[in-house]
């Protein structure tokens, strides 16, 4: 925890509104990215982001001096997502769109044509297809680059259990990517001939 973060926490505890704005600007993209990749829907990520920062606003005074804000926010964001998922069983719009859902976290467009972009797109797609338990551990350790002990704490796991889950998630992601690459390789000649015909 660096001095800047400690100062931010102190200011939040004191009820300094400028500190809340600073925290929002600094951590919003990380929390939003986490929620978007977890939920796969922009509208849901927007709502959960709001709930997360409302929780920060309500609990700022009771933060501990040594709170790691990013870990605190990601823990709240994850709990909000789990709560949303429990209630979404009753969400009629979600039931109606079942089977034609595509993750909003995956941008598939003509711009993703270079090899590096195609690889990132593949990673994004593979990640979006993983079960939640695997996806969240990869998001925390991989995308967010959190310390494994911190990620274990956020997920409510012991360190050994986290290592195990991470290893399984890696294997699953590698498998998905391989399958996606094979599918893409199979489709490529077809697409090329279609392009040639037009």
């Amino acid at each position: 925890m660096d001095a800047e973060e400690r100062e931010l926490v102190t200011d939040l505890r004191r009820g300094n509104a400028a500190a809340f704005r600073r925290a929002y600007a600094a951590y919003r993209p990380r929390v939003y990215g986490f929620l978007l990749r977890l939920s796969g829907r922009r509208d849901v990520a927007d709502d959960l982001l709001q709930e997360t920062f409302i929780k920060l606003a309500r609990n700022a005074a009771s933060l501990r001096e040594d709170t790691r804000l990013v870990a605190w926010l990601l823990t709240v964001a994850r709990n909000e997502f789990l709560s949303y998922r429990r209630w979404s069983v009753l969400d009629i719009t979600r039931i109606l769109s079942f089977g034609r859902e595509q993750s909003d976290a995956v941008d598939e467009g003509p711009e993703a044509r270079t090899q590096a972009q195609a690889r990132l797109q593949l990673l994004e797609r593979g990640l979006s297809e993983l079960p939640t338990a695997s996806r969240e551990v990869l998001l925390l350790v991989g995308v967010e680059g959190l310390d494994q002990e911190e990620a274990a704490e956020i997920l409510g796991l012991g360190y050994a259990a986290l290592r195990q889950r991470l290893s399984r998630a890696r294997a699953e992601l590698a498998q998905r990517i391989e399958a996606l690459e094979k599918r893409r390789a199979k489709l490529e000649p077809k697409r090329a001939s279609e392009r040639g015909a037009t």
Partner: protein, 84 residues
């Protein structure tokens, strides 16, 4: 003891682009957050106000659910009375 994670695939994930909320939504969320932050701060000096807010927040859904329940019970009994 945390082991360093040098797995290539996990490291690759760090290269995924940052996602951010639309500017308009970002402004709206900030506005709501700052408002709640200020309300919470203002309530700190008045514990009764915080208590009242919490009680209202808890009681509102209970009152709504209770009213709906009573109304449904009345509606069912009224229909039963009409068609015995």
């Amino acid at each position: 003891m945390t082991e360093p994670d040098d797995d290539a695939l996990v490291s690759e994930l760090r290269g995924l682009p940052t996602k951010d909320v639309e500017p308009e939504a970002a402004r709206r969320i900030l506005h709501v957050g700052v408002e709640v932050f200020a309300e919470t701060k203002a309530a700190e000096g008045h514990p009764w106000r915080a208590l009242l807010t919490r009680a209202t927040r808890t009681l509102t859904p209970i009152v709504v659910a209770g009213t709906v329940g009573v109304y449904l019970a009345w509606a069912v009994s009224a229909v039963n009375a009409l068609y015995p």
